[in-house]
Structures are given as C-alpha cells and as structure tokens.
C-alpha cells in the first residue's frame, strides 16, 4: 500500500502537482488529509519532521527530544522565560502528546459566539464531529489501569480537599500503561495521527512526504500557486544532500500548527493586515513537586489520567486554571528545576518518590489579554514573545499555593517550587504562607507550555482575525488554515480533540465544495 516517504527514499528534486497541498501532518493536517483524500481529491501532505514508526523509537529522552520536538527540543520564548514543548514528526504534536482528550467546553463555545461572532460554534453543531473523531480515535474514559503514582497524588489530594476531579478520557487502544507517550508510543497504542488519520489518508491515495520543510508559499494576486521548500536528511544522518521541493496545487491548507503556521504565512508575505502571529495562547504551565514517603515512579504509567477543574473560573484580577500532572523522566525533571549544582542533584536523587503536579492558566478570555506574538527573526525562523501580565502573575501565585496544598493533602513530606533565585522547600502545610512572599512570573520560576493555540485566529468580522469562519485566510482565494492556530482563545482543556473536530468539520465542507 501507499506509504509515507522520507528523505532517504528521494534521489532528486521533488516536483508535484495535486488538488490539495497540506503543510503539516498533526492534529489538523492529518484529519484534513484523510477527509479530503477520501472524497477523491488528490492530496499531498508535506511534513518537516520524520516518519517515526514504533520500532524506531528508543524511549530515551536524549534521542527522542531532538528527533520528535521542535528546534531539537530546545524551543522557548525569545527570552527563554517559557519552555515550549511542541512536536515535529509525522503526526505532529500528537506523536508526543499525553493523550488527554476533551470536547471544547460549552462555555468556551459560548464565549466564541458572543465575543468573536462565531455563530456556528454551537455544541449541537459540533457534536457530530466530536462523535466521529471519538469513534475513529477510540477516545474513552480510561479505566484500564488505576492512575499511576503521580496521578494518584492529584486524585488523593483533590479528594481530601473536596475539590472537583475526574478520570480523563484518552485516545488509546491497548495501552500497556508504559508512560512514554511523550517520547512516542512504543506499543502503537496511542491513537496518534501517524497510526490513524494519516493511514486513512494513505489508503485513500494521499501522498505523505516526511522530512520536507516548506519555506514559503508563492502567491499570484490573491491565489497561492506553489509551496516551496526543501527535503532534508535528519541532522544526525546528514549523508544525503538536501533536495528542493515544489508542489503546485489548486487549494492550499496550512496545518503547520501554532507558531510555525503563522511563521509560514509571514515568510510568504501573508500578514492579514498585521494580525498573523498575534493572539498566540499557551495555557502557561507552572509546576510544584511533592516528595512522598512511598515510591511513585512518576516516569512509568499513563502520563495523565486525572484532572481537576475546580479552579477553572477566573476572578477580576487573575486567570482561571486547571490542574493535571506531568510525567517526570530525568531530563525533563532535571531541566524543570530552575537551579544547578548539588541542589538539583540532591533533588533528583529522590526522583522515584516525586510527584509533579501542574496548573495550566486559561489565557485569552480577558479583554486585555492579547496573548503572545509570533514574528520572524533575521533567519526567517519563528520568534515568540509572550508577556506574563499581572492577571497571569496572579494565577501563578495562587496556583503555587493550590498545588502545594494539594501535595500536602496527598501526604507529601516536602514540597518544592521551581524558583530560579530561591531554593524553596516546604515541610508542612503550616509553611504555606511562605509562598506569599515569593516573586512570580517570567524568569522567577519555571514556566512551560505544551498547548500552543492561536496566531491565525478565526473571527466573523472582516477587519479582525486571520481566517473567516470557513477557515479561509482573509485576502486570499485558496488558502485555508486547519490547525490549532485558528483558535480565538485558549480552551481551558487540552486542545487536541477540539482541533481534530474543527478540522474534520471544515475539511468535510471543503470536500463538498471542491468535488
């Protein structure tokens, strides 16, 4: 059968013509490719990252992070204040994501209708698309194993404090509870895009090219004519020379994700009145570590199986937030502690006894929250800036206390924050007040993001946003964006299922129009 091709399979320049050219093979691109190819359209998918099937995965962070993440695992905001975890592989970020699935909450859809004029974003209108992706990806409440030690801390703590919490839904089938979702699933149990919708697309005749980075789209008037890029060998295997890639198509879809998608448009001279790259949201994450008496092995077991939305509501001066946990393998843990030397070494000696709980800030809902901005640096690479404004600082401050309280309620002996300039270790809930005196915000402690959204935001009115409600880029005739960059705000839940469903809805409409 039709298969994904890689750089090693190519001997000369790539020059293709098709009906639909899709840049990016992640949550948005893979679903679009399967939907459009199944409708009989000739589809070409171009993916910068590698084709990485299960037998090629090493489960070692030192290999997987550079291979499967953006910027060899080193992406961050320009000031290094926020570490950006984002995938780069056939399957996009779903190749390395932690499989947590939620439908878009009704109150978020309601906000989009009221504030962004997106009348079609109604729960009943989207329900059939959620149903369809849930069926295809086997999304279900995951009760195959009890929560691992790390998730159990969240469950126990929330239970003891009377906070809302629940077991998550995951897109897995036959999960063996290994804990390596973030390094690619060794068991093919994660229903990531490379083993689901990309396979459907291939079966329907789509061509999927890995190792192809698209530099820009060429335009003639309001029409995009060509995707121009380069096929490159993996950096650790630079034997073969790079090859030029040109793909001509009737329709183009940018599915390169937040940050890279806006950058692709900017490199192509498409700015939508200066709005491309603006309103980039991150669900900025802060973490607190608890040291427990019993072994928790936070590196094994499904990375996320419990969440709490108890603190979802914002207040006048701070963002709302939700609680989950992060898996802790040595490299991720070692770099999350914003310190160095024996302090870090001493902490990491207790790694099997640690639990890493996280709080994710729900950004983009306040009128004064414009999110981050993507521009291009002097080398045409994306450059992300994101200001941690006062309401975000207030969230970070309160969330530290929330997580520390939760850890103690779950039985932690010590609680560590990840501050840079101070070494903070609490040994009893009576010490929680110490947290009030600490500084919060950029460079004060570790902040990361695994959920990048926006940058090509969808709005109803012409003079606003980047794409219209049909996902078409304003000011172009044949360029669409189907990925997380269209989201007008963040979501307050993990974003993958929203992106799958919106992409399927949009691609189905486009398939009807184009066939």
């Amino acid at each position: 059968m039709n298969q994904v091709t890689s750089h090693a399979d190519r001997s000369g320049p790539v020059d293709l013509t098709c009906d639909v050219c899709i840049v990016g093979s992640g949550a948005g691109g893979a679903v679009a490719a399967a939907t459009l190819a199944s409708a009989g359209l000739r589809v070409v998918v171009l993916e910068a990252g590698p084709w990485a099937p299960a037998p090629t995965l090493t489960l070692q962070e030192e290999r997987a992070m550079p291979r499967l993440y953006q910027e060899r695992g080193g992406r961050s905001t320009a000031d290094q204040g926020i570490t950006v975890l984002q995938g780069r592989a056939v399957g996009g970020s779903t190749k390395v994501n932690w499989t947590t699935c939620y439908r878009t909450p009704d109150h978020v859809l309601d906000h989009w209708q009221r504030v962004h004029g997106l009348a079609h974003m109604r729960p009943d209108a989207l329900a059939p698309w959620f149903d369809a992706v849930e069926r295809r990806l086997g999304i279900h409440t995951w009760a195959s194993f009890p929560p691992n030690g790390n998730n159990n801390v969240l469950q126990r703590g929330a239970q003891a404090l009377g906070w809302e919490h629940h077991i998550l839904r995951r897109n897995v089938s036959g999960c063996i509870n290994s804990g390596y979702c973030g390094l690619g699933c060794p068991a093919n149990a994660k229903q990531a895009m490379d083993v689901t919708f990309i396979q459907d697309a291939l079966q329907a005749g789509a061509r999927v090219l890995a190792d192809v980075h698209i530099d820009h789209l060429t335009t003639e008037g309001e029409r995009v004519t060509t995707a121009v890029g380069v096929s490159k060998p993996a950096p650790e295997d630079p034997a073969a020379p790079a090859l030029p890639v040109t793909v001509r198509a009737t329709h183009f879809i940018s599915a390169a994700g937040a940050i890279n998608g806006p950058a692709l448009l900017l490199r192509s001279g498409i700015t939508a009145g200066g709005r491309v790259g603006r309103r980039t949201f991150l669900h900025p994450v802060i973490a607190v570590v608890g040291e427990h008496a019993e072994r928790l092995d936070p590196f094994y077991g499904a990375p996320q199986s419990v969440a709490s939305h108890h603190f979802r509501e914002p207040t006048g001066d701070r963002l709302g937030y939700f609680l989950e946990v992060a898996p802790m393998h040595p490299m991720l843990a070692g770099t999350a502690v914003a310190q160095h030397g024996p302090y870090v070494a001493k902490m990491l000696r207790r790694l099997p006894y640690f639990s890493g709980t996280i709080a994710l800030g729900i950004d983009g809902f306040r009128e004064d929250d414009h999110g981050g901005t993507v521009t291009l640096d002097g080398h045409r690479r994306p450059r992300l800036t994101y200001e941690v404004t006062a309401p975000k600082v207030a969230f970070m401050k309160q969330a530290h206390r929330t997580l520390a309280e939760l850890q103690f309620a779950a039985g932690a002996r010590h609680v560590y924050t990840l501050h840079r300039t101070r070494q903070v270790r609490l040994s009893s809930p009576r010490e929680l007040d110490q947290l009030d005196a600490l500084p919060y915000g950029t460079h004060q402690h570790t902040i990361f993001t695994a959920h990048q959204m926006g940058g090509c935001t969808m709005t109803a009115s012409d003079g606003d946003g980047v794409v219209d409600p049909d996902h078409k880029v304003r000011g172009t005739r044949n360029l669409y964006v189907l990925d997380g960059s269209v989201l007008p705000t963040s979501l307050g839940v993990n974003p993958s299922e929203t992106i799958y469903a919106l992409s399927m809805r949009a691609a189905s409409a486009l398939a009807q129009a184009w066939t």
């Binding site: 080193g74 290994s178 092995d297 590196f299 160095h340 099997p352 840079r420």
Partner: protein, 174 residues
C-alpha cells in the same frame, strides 16, 4: 523588586553586557583543555568554557567533563546554526572578564577562576535580576543540565531504572 526597577536594572545590565560582548577580545584565552581536533559545533574556546561550566552546573556527580562537553558539541551540531551561535555567545559573555568584573567584582575569565569563585559567579548569574542574565543562565542551564540528566549513563543517579522494559516489576507495572 517591582517591575519598573527590574526593567531599569535590566537596561543597565544589558548595556554592560553589550559592551562586554563588543569587547570580547578583552578576554584572556580560556584555560587550555586540549579540545579534541574534531569539534563539530563548539570552537576550542567554547569547548574550554563548557569544560569549566560543567562541574559547576552539575557538581560532584560530573566525573567526566569531557564526555559532557562532547555531548554538548554533538547536540549543538544538530541545531540551527544561529541557535548554536547564540548559545555560544552566551558562553562567551559568562567567560568575559568585563562581565565578571561587573557581576561579581572579579576581573578574571570564568575558566580561570578557582572552583569556589566559579560557584559564586554562577550563583550570581542564577540570582541576577537582569533579564538578559536570566535568559543566558536559563539557556546554558537547560543545555548543560539537559545533556547531563538525559545521558543514560547518569540515570542511576536519579533512581530511574531506564526505559519501560528495564522497569522493576511491581503491581502497577507487571
């Protein structure tokens, strides 16, 4: 410190760092460390700086600084050349005599300082309220700590048994 003051201090610090960068030549060659002849991304100078930084960033657990520096070199050879240049510029600033004079009052390149002074210097970078210092400290920390703790040879220091197939069998991971 309030935000206004932070920005002011940052601006003054950034100016000093810019001068230090421009006067890069005013720094003694890094302490010679017999850089391997086949470096891929680091130069002999930045190799020497990494050799000096490693023991301070990691502490006594680092028994083979050359292995760490070699792995940093391997990694940097695979990132965008601009990203590699930027992080090496950060190393140069940390090594620079003028920066050290301004930050810790010692006009000595980092790699020429004794271990106690090196520890104080890196701590000054860690606790600095100058945004650019925080940026450089964080970039170098993530590079060096990430390289060290990601090295399978060092898993044992953390009690991590290694990838899933090496796990000790327990009730939750049969």
């Amino acid at each position: 410190m309030d935000r206004r003051r932070f920005l002011k201090v940052s601006a003054a610090g950034a100016a000093t760092l810019a001068v230090a960068g421009a006067l890069g030549a005013w720094s003694t060659p890094a302490r010679p460390t017999h850089a391997p002849p086949d470096l891929k991304a680091l130069g002999p100078r930045t190799w020497a700086i990494v050799m000096a930084l490693g023991p301070v960033f990691i502490g006594p657990d680092l028994t083979d600084p050359a292995r760490l520096a070699g792995r940093v070199d391997d990694y940097l050879a695979t990132v965008h050349p601009r990203a590699s240049t930027e992080v090496q510029q950060g190393m140069e600033l940390l090594e620079n005599r003028l920066t050290n004079l301004w930050l810790v009052g010692v006009a000595k390149p980092f790699s020429h300082q004794d271990p106690a002074q090196q520890a104080r210097t890196l701590d000054a970078w860690r606790t600095s309220e100058v945004a650019l210092c925080a940026t450089i400290y964080t970039a170098l920390r993530k590079l060096i700590d990430g390289t060290f703790w990601g090295d399978p040879e060092n898993y044992a220091l953390t009690g991590y048994p290694g990838p899933y197939h090496l796990r000790p069998r327990t009730a939750s991971h049969p």
